[in-house]
């Protein structure tokens, strides 16, 4: 069992060239910040290293950081440009019983993150959900389709902070 600082040190030793940072400001969890294009490599290392053995991905969550510039649309609704979307990975080891949280941030205009499908198979649906609700593209995901919203939903990504409900969906009025 290791605490987040020890895990961070191990990672830093292995991947010194990739920008990694430990965010300790949050009161209840420590979060390791990772490059979105290196997450597969880091994930594989985390899973296979004898001292870490993170064999289980508890949850993968997309987040709209809403840290870009906010402007008002002509009808008064919020518009956000710039800033980032993030993905959080909560990992757990069923063997060694320790936990860690990873975070990647990607540009809102072109949100791309490597898929961890081949590391933890459970990420399949979680990634589809993050794609569905935030529009984050997971590279190398074999089946990136919408999952909760209708497959032909065209009005964008509902959990983004500047999402606007469409007036009609296939001729049906949406706000009933």
């Amino acid at each position: 069992m290791k605490n987040p600082e020890e895990i961070f040190k191990l990672l830093k030793k292995e991947f010194s060239e990739i920008i990694l940072d430990l965010d300790k400001e949050t009161p209840t969890e420590s979060i390791i910040l990772v490059d979105p294009m290196q997450i597969t490599k880091i994930g594989k290392f985390l899973r296979e290293n004898e001292e870490l053995k993170f064999d289980s991905l508890m949850v993968l969550s997309g987040v709209d950081d809403a840290n870009g510039t906010k402007t008002k649309d002509e009808d008064g609704s919020d518009m956000i440009s710039g800033g980032t979307l993030s993905v959080y990975y909560h990992l757990h080891s069923t063997v060694l019983k320790h936990k860690i949280t990873l975070k990647v941030s990607t540009q809102r205009e072109n949100p791309q993150v490597e898929s961890v499908y081949n590391v933890w198979r459970t990420s399949d649906w979680h990634e589809r959900e993050a794609f569905d609700l935030f529009g984050i593209i997971f590279l190398n995901h074999p089946d990136l389709r919408r999952i909760l919203m209708p497959y032909d939903w065209e009005a964008g990504y509902p959990l983004r902070k500047d999402y606007k409900n469409p007036e009609f969906y296939k001729g049906m009025k949406v706000p009933y």
Binding site: T26, P27, T28, E29, I31, D55, S56, L57, M58, V59, S61, G62, V63, D64, Y88, H90, T94, K97, T101, W120, R121, T122, D124, W125, L133, R146, I147, L148, M149, P150, P158, L159, Y163
Partner: protein, 371 residues
């Protein structure tokens, strides 16, 4: 001369009694044999997570009831624990005890439905009626406590909505006395019934490494043989004070990780829940259940991931607070959502009739899958 054959696509659901809600399974079959299963979900999607962002922290609680509507107490529990962690507040002992008792009663009620429907799906309708009779007992206990039978909004941040009824302790003990023989009755009726075993043993075998890789939790993971229980691994509330076992699948009548193992883990878990209730029911301390409820709930900036052992597995709430009175982001790690992912793997090479048995043994609730 070889006969030319084609595979056929069969839609099971969305409106089908054995899919436990509105779930569509796209089965690719060759004769009776399953080649692949593609679940299509989202028919119950109501964007709980978006709603939560527009609500204050206490206002989210009734919405959590509607995730896993067969285990609403557990949903409340996970959410309030997460927010309490963010706030960093201490909860009175009395509240902790009552919460644990409620959560365990809810676990029994939920497993009763799981077992009953699993049996009913594959043709054993009689146990269904017996088990719903016992579930009724628990629902009456809940109704006595907070007035609601399914969606309770009972656990509040820092406390409870109502104290327990003066008769609650007596009635709960009555229930335990009544329930113990029911488990034996159930074992005679269904568990060791030859037809039931034929339908479930050696069907839908889930190997342990696949289960972990697919993120399975709860009875689905334990059925594959790993004694993993959040109540033990990552003790929350006061679970570290109680003595209970974690049942796992042992392949008693078939192979480890088959449908029967997942089923039997639930039966054994009900007995363990009874044990926990017995240890807690006589030790409820005196106190005010609402004394620790904060006047103004405005957690500091930060993130929290809190998880509890719901009847269906590990229920996690990932909450980000930006220091306002409403959460910035609430993500639910719904156990059924993750457990259903493995469906495609489990069904390969089985017959169409086995799909029903496998789905029943996963025990999903679409309310929390679609959120």
């Amino acid at each position: 001369m070889a006969l030319k054959t084609e595979t056929m696509v069969l839609n099971m659901g969305p409106q089908h009694p054995s899919t436990h809600g509105v779930l569509r399974l796209e089965l690719e079959i060759e004769g009776e044999l399953i080649l692949s299963v593609k679940p299509h979900i989202g028919y119950l999607h109501r964007c709980f997570e978006k709603h939560a962002e527009a609500m204050t922290y206490p206002q989210v609680i009734p919405y959590t009831d509607r995730l896993d509507y067969l285990a609403a107490m557990g949903n409340n529990f996970g959410y309030v624990i997460a927010v309490e962690k963010l706030l960093g507040i201490q909860i009175p002992e009395r509240v902790e005890y009552i919460r644990v008792i409620m959560a365990e009663l809810q676990r029994i009620a939920s497993h009763l439905v799981a077992i009953a429907t699993n049996g009913a799906d594959i043709g054993a309708l009689t146990p269904f009626l017996y088990l719903f009779r016992d579930r009724e007992y628990i629902l009456t206990l809940f109704e006595m406590t907070c007035g609601a039978r399914m969606l309770y909004n009972y656990m509040w941040i820092g406390g409870l909505s109502h104290d327990i009824h003066p008769d609650f302790v007596r009635k709960t003990k009555e229930f335990i006395n009544h329930f113990r023989p029911t488990v034996t009755e159930l074992n005679n009726l269904l568990t060791f019934n030859k037809i039931f075993i034929e339908r479930t043993a050696n069907v839908g075998i889930l190997p342990l490494d696949t289960a972990i890789n697919f993120g399975a939790s709860g009875p689905v993971l334990r059925g594959s043989g790993l004694p993993f229980d959040v109540r033990r691994e990552d003790p929350y509330s006061i679970y570290n004070r109680f003595d209970f076992e974690i049942p796992t699948g042992k392949g008693l009548v078939g192979t480890v990780g088959d449908c029967w193992d997942r089923y039997y883990v639930r039966v054994l878990e009900m007995e363990q829940s009874v044990r926990i209730i017995e240890q807690a029911i006589d030790n409820i301390p005196e106190g005010d259940v609402q004394s620790a409820i904060p006047k103004r709930i405005k957690p500091p900036k930060g993130t929290v991931y809190a998880r509890v052992e719901n009847p269906r597995g590990e229920l996690g709430y990932f909450i980000i607070s930006d220091g306002n009175i409403n959460p910035f982001r609430v993500k639910v790690r719904a156990p059924s959502f993750v457990n259903l992912e493995v469906m495609g793997e489990l069904c390969k090479g089985h017959l169409v009739a086995d799909v029903i048995a496998i789905l029943g043994s996963l025990d999903i609730v679409l309310g929390e899958i679609d959120r």
